[in-house]
């Protein structure tokens, strides 16, 4: 059947062998060409890809600068924290990744998805921070199984921490993560997603000093994203240290005095204008903002009717009450409407413009001069003074003494308050001013609204006999031993005669030391001058109204402004207790305690 071997043509086979060699040569030429194309022609392209494979640029967050008090006690610092990052490039199975991510972070997958959505425009290899302050156990778990989770990375980053928790919270403010819209704004254009920015208080005011300069690192990584070595590094620059005028011990002492009351206290060093204590109650722990806050937590804080996030010292507006009588007295004396000899008889009430106005002492104070009127806070005396002064004149003196305007303290978001005048009323209500309103304003009522910081500035100016200090919290900013900025005290002269201040101070001295309304503030051996203010109850329209108990709703706010000692004054302070009741019983004793504390430390007492 088969042809014999010899009959098969060897020629054909030989020809095929030649063809085979031709094919062989052609194939090898093709291979050489292909490799030439990849290795030589496209070398640069592939080299770039090879470098991209192994190198990663990592942003190094700069530790935020310290915030310290006048003696160097730390109020805010940076601590090490573990952040969990997700790198989309290394995700093999998104479902699994989301499952693991929500397991690691205890966040819902939707929450993580929404975080990732924010980084849509970022390259795939970008490290998206999905959780900071990762629990140690989770850190160890992920690090030990890095091969299983190449898409997750753990970074060690500084995070803001406030070692004293709520202490001075409203002074320090807080920081929080930048949002995408903010990043596109001009002032924050140098920030990246995931960066934190100061939102209030000192953190906001001195953001540019505190933030430091971000660093970066180029690392060599293997295919499992394990860092093999650091190729180059630009170290982050730590933010500068902000030294405050605050006296931490005093601050803590004052905060401790408020147990279940709300209010504000400010203490100023009259030699410099530096704030020694600034308290706003209730407060909050600023650290919860530098971590990730749950939505409920944020809503609870921001919707709290007691407004813990509001710095009441700068932003809370209150009726000044009888404290305003200081302004009235100054205006009356400066305008020469009254003199130390002027007397008014107080019978408990008096009719002005067809309406009865009452003194708080319905039995009447009897014959009052400027000193006794201040000492007893007699309304009738000041009603009469108000009747003889024009509202615009009163407004002028109020503004001169700092009301109706920002105090200029080095903190943002101050409230200006309201100083009523003819023009103000026309502007606000399109109405004429009625003379009867002036009578109310004369005892610190009516539409008058002030902030505690304005009160502090006012009483400081009185203490300094017309030298108005610039209030400030910053002492200096330091960076590696060098002072970048230092506050130099600034005073400006108020156009009111010094002797008129002396007269008012005489009255204020009597308030405390001669059985006046502020006698509860009296301390033997320290000449404290002050003025109480028990300001009107809260209006029904005020949203706070509903949250207060029945008794508290009608409790007036207690003010006590004061300074000491009378000669060469050292301290001025304002104490406000919301719904405290009688200022002489509530606010004045608090002030006494503060003076005791301070002067005990100063060894003057």
């Amino acid at each position: 059947m088969y042809p014999s071997k010899k009959k098969l043509s060897g020629e054909y086979v030989k020809k095929s062998a030649t063809v085979a060699i031709v094919i062989l040569i052609a194939v090898f030429l093709a291979i050489f060409a292909a490799f030439w194309n990849i290795q030589i022609v496209n070398n640069e392209h592939f080299q770039r890809l090879a470098i991209q494979n192994i190198t990663r640029s990592i942003d190094l967050t700069a530790p935020r600068g310290l915030i310290v008090d006048r003696s160097g006690a730390v109020l805010a610092e940076s601590k090490i924290n573990f952040t969990l990052y997700l790198v989309r490039e290394n995700v093999a199975d998104m479902e699994k990744t989301m499952r693991m991510a929500s397991f690691f972070t205890a966040k819902k997958a939707d929450v993580i998805r929404s975080i990732m959505a924010r980084y849509k425009k970022y390259p795939q290899f970008y490290r998206i921070p999905i959780k900071n302050n990762l629990a140690r156990g989770t850190v160890i778990f992920i690090e030990s199984r890095q091969e299983e989770f190449p898409e997750f990375e753990i970074g060690i980053e500084p995070t803001r921490t406030y070692p004293l928790e709520n202490c001075a919270a409203n002074v320090l403010g807080y920081i929080s993560e930048i949002t995408e819209t903010e990043m596109n704004s001009k002032e924050l254009q140098h920030y990246g997603l995931g960066d934190f920015v100061g939102r209030s208080g000192i953190e906001k005011q001195y953001e540019s000093y505190l933030r430091g300069v971000k660093g970066s690192q180029i690392v060599i990584k293997d295919n499992l994203e394990k860092i093999q070595r650091i190729q180059s590094e630009i170290k982050p620059v730590v933010g500068a240290t902000v030294v405050l005028t605050l006296d931490l011990e005093l601050q803590k002492f004052i905060e401790g005095m408020f147990v279940d009351q709300n209010g504000a206290v400010g203490v100023v060093d009259l030699r410099t204008g530096g704030i020694l204590a600034m308290v706003s109650k209730p407060d909050f722990n600023p650290e919860i903002f530098s971590q990730e806050m749950e939505k409920e937590q944020w809503l609870a804080l921001s919707n709290d009717p007691q407004k813990p996030l509001q710095n009441k010292f700068l932003q809370g507006i209150y009726s000044p009450g009888s404290v305003f009588k200081i302004i009235m007295a100054l205006a009356g004396l400066q305008e020469k409407i009254i003199s130390p000899a002027s007397r008014v008889n107080c019978s408990g009430s008096q009719n002005f413009y067809g309406r009865d106005f009452h003194c708080w002492n319905l039995n009447g104070h009897g014959s009052m001069n400027i000193f006794s009127a201040l000492q007893n806070s007699c309304n009738i005396f000041f009603y009469n003074l108000g009747r003889r002064l024009d509202i615009d004149t009163i407004a002028g003196y109020a503004q001169t003494m700092g009301f109706g305007n920002e105090s200029g303290i080095d903190m943002a978001n101050e409230n200006k308050g309201t100083v009523p005048s003819r023009a103000w009323k026309m502007n606000a209500f399109r109405q004429q001013w009625f003379p009867g309103e002036t009578i109310s304003v004369a005892i610190g009522g009516g539409s008058l609204n002030v902030t505690p910081v304005q009160m502090l500035k006012m009483i400081a100016t009185v203490a300094l006999r017309g030298r108005m200090p610039r209030l400030h919290l910053l002492q200096r900013i330091e960076k590696s031993g060098q002072t970048l900025r230092e506050f130099t005290p600034e005073f400006s002269r108020v156009p009111i005669a010094e002797q008129n201040f002396e007269l008012v101070i005489e009255g204020l001295f009597k308030v405390v030391n001669e059985e006046g309304t502020g006698r509860a503030a009296k301390i033997a051996g320290l000449a404290i001058c002050g003025k109480t203010g028990t300001s009107q109850i809260i209006a029904k329209e005020n949203p706070k109204y509903k949250t207060l108990t029945k008794e508290k709703r009608f409790m007036p706010n207690s003010w006590f402004v004061s300074f000491a000692p009378r000669e060469n004054p050292r301290l001025a302070m304002v104490v406000l207790v919301e719904n405290g009741g009688d200022a002489g019983l509530i606010a004045a004793p608090l002030a006494a305690q503060i003076y005791k504390k301070f002067f005990a430390n100063e060894r003057l007492f």
Partner: protein, 356 residues
């Protein structure tokens, strides 16, 4: 004995030895990041392979050719047994391992198969139905068994014998058409029932590597980056970032070309290819006759050539990643040994040719 030395193809032998040594050198680099000692194993295998080379070389060709069918059947039974026993003991095949040395029997099938095919080829100039079925039977019996192992690479390589035979012989058009249709059918069948998902993925990813960038197209992309970034002179021994930071997969066997491409550059890669070329050229540049011995040389070299071509094409993304190693160079003792045994037979045939 003197004549033996004189006519022994010393150049080809040295080149084969060079390929193996280059292989060990590259396997060292491939195992460097994980401190693997594969290169030592490969060196031991090389020594053993050389021993076997001279042992086989000293045998009579007639003896070898006579016993090819028995060896072929023996290997088939071992492969069948492996599937059977391997199944019963939970997928492990430890029974054919001796200590840490494992034998991959599928690698050796190509030798008796090439002999049997060579014998068959002496019987026809034109492939008719009868011859065709005989070829199919010879080739696909081991291929089926190896597919079930599963070893896609080796079974695929054995299939290459068929076109190698057809290249040298004429074929009836009807047979060819039916063959192509059957291939298509077999392909579809294989795709739907035999291939495992990961094997399919390799083929799919070849068609569109960028789409599977982070998963299955990864191998080819990383291999191309390795080779391309090597440039003219390479990044230096043990200095290739793709190899040393382990971006390159299976770099000690299937992607060993990428290691030389990256660390030694175009020049040295071209030298490696040139060594292959010289070997093939010397083997093919032979006065062919219608003789089973020459057909064997042709078939065996044809197999090496295609395996080389597929491996290289795979590394630069011109061919799906099928787990085909680079002859003599890639890590794998059984593969190295089988190639040296085959070469021993070829060397013996050529020497006989000179001596007679």
């Amino acid at each position: 004995m003197k004549d033996y030395f004189k006519y022994f193809d010393k150049l080809t032998f040295v080149l084969l030895l060079m390929l193996s040594l280059i292989g060990i050198f590259l396997i060292y680099s491939a195992g460097f990041p994980l401190k693997e000692s594969n290169y030592l194993k490969q060196a031991a295998w090389l020594l053993f392979s050389l021993l076997m080379f001279f042992m086989i070389f000293s045998l009579k060709i007639d003896f070898i050719f006579r016993n090819a069918f028995i060896v072929y059947l023996a290997l088939l039974s071992i492969l069948a047994l492996q599937i059977f026993v391997g199944r019963t003991i939970a997928g492990t095949r430890s029974w054919f391992r001796l200590g840490s040395v494992g034998l991959q029997f599928s690698e050796f099938v190509k030798i008796p198969l090439a002999i049997l095919l060579a014998k068959a080829m002496t019987r026809f100039d034109l492939i008719g139905w009868k011859h065709f079925f005989k070829l199919i039977l010879l080739i696909f019996a081991p291929v089926c068994l190896i597919v079930l192992q599963p070893d896609l690479g080796v079974s695929f390589i054995l299939c290459i014998f068929l076109p190698v035979v057809v290249l040298l012989k004429k074929i009836k058009p009807a047979v060819l058409i039916i063959f192509l249709l059957l291939t298509l059918l077999g392909g579809l069948l294989g795709w739907n029932s035999v291939l495992k998902p990961y094997q399919k993925n390799r083929i799919v990813s070849f068609l569109n590597p960028m789409k599977y960038k982070s998963s299955i197209g990864y191998h080819v992309i990383q291999s191309k980056i390795a080779i391309g970034s090597g440039g003219l002179a390479g990044k230096g021994y043990l200095k290739g970032s793709q190899s040393q930071y382990q971006f390159l997969p299976a770099r000690h066997n299937d992607f060993i070309v990428s290691v030389i491409g990256e660390e030694f550059g175009f020049i040295n890669t071209a030298i490696l290819f040139f060594i292959f070329f010289v070997i093939f050229y010397r083997q093919f540049k032979f006065n062919f006759q219608n003789d089973e011995e020459f057909y064997f040389i042709y078939l065996f070299n044809g197999l090496i050539f295609f395996q080389f071509l597929i491996n290289v094409a795979m590394a630069i993304g011109f061919f799906p990643v099928l787990g085909v190693s680079l002859p003599f160079v890639s890590y794998g003792g059984s593969s190295l040994l089988s190639f040296f045994i085959g070469e021993a037979i070829i060397f013996r045939i050529k020497i006989n040719n000179y001596l007679t």
